[in-house]
Symmetry: C2
Subunit: 337 residues, 2 copies
């Protein structure tokens, strides 16, 4: 089993060898759903989620004994342009907050029964400003990608989260480079910038797209030119999870933009991923549509840290609890339709 | 404190004395939300839910130590008309399934940390067929209403669920009598009836509305003419919860139609209620719009039993966990915007 990625070519070879959804196990799950004491289909998305888990876990019954949340933090050259309501030092301050248990992600991990591991990525060394040059060298991008790749350990479900002041700006650039369309429509308020901040964000994304778009045909090239270290790391973790057959719950705009870069390598690279929620960022909803992903939740959240995905874990837990715990019509002596 | 309702007049007097949302405690909750280590508003509906809980619990911090699910079951005269894919005996079979722990609601209560109490309401005595006469006498309706009213005991959050073969038909009739409009649009597939079943359901609701509409100006009169025993009991439980300042999570179409009858007594009767989810029944979505309720979840569920509301409890738990557990900017030494 490959344990790191050294080049774009190696990533392409890696993608060709990825495991597929197990139709056999999904079929077993569907057959069980049809026998449980409820009208067929009446648990809606809970049924779909149970079947999706069985197919990726290649298991007759889904399990969620080990839920792992990986949170990656990075700093961004474009932050100096004034694209965020917060200064860059907040990234490291929030990492300390994660370590002390005081952030939203800590409370939500506890509730979701998830382990939390935080990986700060060279916070004292922001990426370059992508309006004038690529955000990272290929070497830096691979280092970050592999930091994510190697962070994944055996789990039944993986949650991907992030923190990085300014990181909705590279996310908008990644999404726009991938899905095209009007640049401005990919730019939202992030943590809550004012009108001036929005204008700057749009200018920055325009400049980045103009400079790099022609060169963004492959995953790692796109990540290194317009992404941040946390984007590269998240893409690496999501790639590794697919290799290990670990189903993934994506969080908001930033996570989804990172995940989406993998579709340049293989259009179905994200088949093992589910969108945990749709965030309040309009670009996120557009990107989910582009990826044909139907989010589990829509709670108007826009915090990042994996927070929306972690709330969605309770939907996944509900899917597993009903699938595994319910009696069949025969067991309960209930008349079927 | 009134411990039962003896007449329509008494219900009106009861409604006049209902406690109001505590703006003082909601204000405290808003102020705390503004200090937590996250961009203001970034937890979206989680913030709203925390504030809503504080206002109804009249507490500085919301709590969810005791979550109670009350499930009411009834049988229906109209079931004999062929409005359901299942025979009426399934109601009692499912009550046995609840008691044996084999149903969806059992698994979801366990997951939500909720106690479950099931109240079967004269299952061997279905209501009358409302196409020819009122479904219940006023005495029967009051008995069912008070069964719900007295079932509520001290709790931090109340979930209302139901079971009753054929009960989306009276629910459609109740919703139509309350909100008006094209009768057919209130009728959906329920547990999954075929085209013929849908035609029968529509005919039955048309007949019920034609016969009773002019007399359905008050809560109990509406419930007794077009509702089932479980509808009356749920209305009673929701009324009692308001008196006891217990916030309520509503489930799907059947529960919402029962709750909605209380708005005939007082337009803001349901201020302590939140819609847990929007179900796959098109009438439910219409009814939520009529009530100006924005559901927490949309998972295409249509099982009843309180199942959608119980999945939504995890959103409420996430709201409480973040509100109570997160550090403030000052506590975590994080720079505020």
């Amino acid at each position: 089993m490959i344990t790191s990625i050294g080049s774009e070519e190696q990533l392409i070879a890696f993608a060709r060898a990825l495991p597929a959804f197990s139709e056999t196990h999904a079929g077993m799950a569907r057959s069980r759903q049809a026998q449980l004491t409820k009208p067929p289909g009446s648990l809606g998305r809970l049924e779909e989620v149970a079947i999706w888990l069985c197919g990726w876990q290649a298991a007759e019954r889904p399990k969620l004994d080990k839920v792992l949340t990986l949170l990656f933090a990075g700093n961004h050259g474009v932050a100096a342009r004034g694209v965020s309501a917060y200064p860059s030092e907040v990234t490291a301050q929030m990492v300390a907050n994660f370590e002390n248990g005081g952030a939203a992600v800590n409370q939500l991990c506890k509730l979701a029964g998830s382990e939390l591991r935080v990986t700060p990525l060279s916070l004292d060394k922001p990426t370059a400003d992508f309006t004038t040059q690529p955000a990272m060298s290929m070497e830096e991008a691979l280092e970050a990608f592999n930091a994510g790749f190697t962070a994944v350990t055996s789990a039944d479900l993986l949650i991907i989260g992030e923190m990085g002041i300014g990181n909705t700006t590279p996310s908008a650039a990644l999404a726009c480079a991938l899905a095209g369309g009007d640049i401005d429509q990919w730019v939202g308020r992030g943590t809550g910038v004012d009108e001036k901040g929005i204008r700057i964000k749009k200018d920055v994304v325009h400049a980045g797209i103009t400079l790099h778009k022609a060169h963004c045909k492959t995953t790692l090239e796109l990540l290194r030119r317009l992404g941040g270290r946390e984007h590269a790391a998240m893409a690496g973790a999501i790639a590794r999870a697919r290799q290990m057959r670990i189903p993934v719950v994506l969080d908001g705009y930033v996570v989804t933009s990172a995940a989406a870069t993998l579709t340049l390598t293989a259009p179905d690279f994200l088949a093992h991923c589910i969108a945990g929620h749709s965030s309040a960022e309009p670009g996120h909803i557009r990107l989910l549509k582009h990826l044909k992903m139907d989010p589990l939740l829509n709670l108007n959240m826009r915090l990042g840290e994996g927070s929306g995905a972690l709330v969605a874990v309770s939907v996944v837990r509900a899917a597993v609890a009903t699938h595994n715990g319910m009696a069949t019509f025969a067991e309960a002596s209930v008349t079927a339709a």
